[in-house]
């Protein structure tokens, strides 16, 4: 059945997905809000950059991250100046990679939710002398709640399912960067099919349950 290393991979994956989702909500919310409200000429280019991870092969993202995080890359030189060393092969390196990789899965549902609110509730709030910040937390966040839930679930699930990026920048260190998907890959490559089945089957069940919850929730949300 599951070995200690398998359990370590599961625990690591859950930690990675939680941290990534949290950061993505913090980064994605203002970004999605700006994308939903702005009339700037930058809207198109920024939206395109946010959507890039949807179409790029994970190996491309992973390869560029490896180069950027490395000692000669932009992020690598920055983290070295801070005395942090290279982020590749570390948990935080994986977090950076996952944030990039799952960005559209959080930003796009949020942006759609913000778009759907429209001008009217904001104008009403303004006439009642609500400050922009007050409006955001008292009006926008409650109205966009389904968007936040969709964004969190998709961001979390997509990070759990991440493989190519982690393979490229992780270095497969047990307990540190060896996530479930990489562990499954190693089992398959080493012809340990029984162990691979345990993890792969679990992943399949998990993904189905998450998506089922998401679609059930969305359907009930629409009926209300």
């Amino acid at each position: 059945m599951l070995t200690d290393a398998d359990l370590a991979a599961i625990w690591l994956t859950l930690r990675l997905a939680s941290m990534t989702t949290l950061l993505l909500l913090l980064i994605g919310t203002p970004l999605a809000w700006w994308l939903a409200r702005t009339r700037s000429a930058w809207k198109g280019p920024v939206a395109a950059i946010v959507a890039l991870p949807l179409v790029l092969p994970p190996t491309v993202i992973g390869f560029y991250l490896l180069v950027t995080l490395g000692p000669n890359g932009a992020i690598g030189q920055f983290t070295q100046a801070l005395g942090l060393g290279s982020l590749a092969f570390t948990f935080w390196g994986l977090v950076v990679g996952s944030v990039v990789y799952s960005l559209p899965f959080v930003v796009q549902p949020l942006q759609n939710a913000f778009d759907a609110i429209g001008e009217r509730p904001l104008e009403v709030a303004a006439t009642l002398r609500a400050s922009p910040l007050d409006t955001f937390f008292s009006v926008v966040v409650p109205l966009a709640r389904p968007g936040f839930i969709t964004a969190s679930i998709l961001g979390f699930a997509h990070t759990v399912g991440e493989f190519g990026v982690v393979l490229m920048i992780g270095g497969n260190i047990p307990g540190k960067t060896q996530v479930i998907s990489v562990r499954i890959y190693e089992h398959v490559e080493a012809l340990e099919y029984t162990q691979a089945h345990w993890l792969a089957g679990g992943m399949l069940a998990f993904s189905f349950v998450v998506l089922l919850a998401l679609y059930t929730f969305n359907a009930s949300g629409k009926r209300r």
Partner: protein
């Protein structure tokens, strides 16, 4: 308005299909272990000039090729990174008996992208003055196993969290070449060209520190009548091919 578009579409479709047939009919599909990529690209070009047969190379890990071949992958020849996989394929009747031979003996090298980082005594390795040492996964790759054997023979106890493992030797090279790992064990062929190191610094791992890395080629069962595949295996033993193999630092 619609007609030109449609006929254009059909023309493209036809061209694609024709192309697919051509590729399928004329070539030898060769599964090549990652470490042998560079010499094999030269050998394949020479082979095509010499015989008119085209060798189509797929690069990857030997373990993955094994699983793919067992599941019907359309390869004619396997150039493995070890001698166990070809032996196993023959025993399981997935490869032609007696067709296996050692086309190259791999050499392991400790390499860093930084010039001067590794000296003649491999001090950097022995004093563990690094944040990350890269090696291919010993469970999956012969060069990884040789690297692990070398660490054991040197009685070096590198903390597990300082060791990063690549899925194959090409990925291991990438970790080091990008500077994310200061040093690591790669195949000499990856950093060696025409009798000298292409960049960085290195330490040749003495062959006594690990079991020999015998890399065997084998004719796969589905290609046992494929003249082009048989010609390629013959060509690999020719003096011209051997000269290329040796120029990348392999033993024969």
């Amino acid at each position: 308005m619609h007609l030109p578009f449609r006929s254009g579409f059909i023309a493209i479709l036809a061209a694609l299909m024709l192309n697919a047939f051509q590729v399928y009919a004329a070539g030898v599909n060769v599964a090549v272990a990652s470490n042998f990529a560079a010499p094999m690209q030269i050998i394949a070009a020479d082979f095509e000039r010499a015989t008119g047969h085209k060798a189509l190379l797929s690069l990857g890990a030997t373990g993955k090729f094994y699983a793919q071949i067992k599941n019907g992958a359309p390869f004619d020849v396997l150039l493995a990174a070890d001698d166990e996989t070809p032996t196993k394929l023959i025993a399981e009747k997935s490869a032609v008996a007696d067709s296996a031979f050692t086309y190259a003996t791999g050499k392991l090298v400790l390499w860093s992208a930084k010039p001067g980082f590794i000296d003649a005594q491999a001090t950097a390795l022995k004093t563990a003055s690094f944040a990350h040492l890269a090696l291919a996964n010993p469970k999956l790759a012969p060069y990884g196993r040789a690297a692990a054997e070398t660490l054991a023979a040197l009685k070096l106890d590198v903390p597990p969290n300082k060791i990063v493992t690549g899925e194959n030797i090409a990925q291991t090279f990438q970790f080091i070449a990008s500077g994310n790992a200061e040093l690591g064990f790669v195949a000499l062929s990856q950093v060696w060209k025409d009798g000298k190191l292409t960049s960085g610094s290195s330490w040749m791992v003495p062959a006594t520190l690990h079991a020999p890395i015998k890399q065997d080629a084998v004719l796969l069962d589905k290609a046992h009548h494929n003249a082009a595949a048989i010609a390629l295996l013959t060509y690999l033993k020719s003096p011209a091919a051997r000269a290329v193999i040796q120029s990348f630092g392999y033993g024969i």
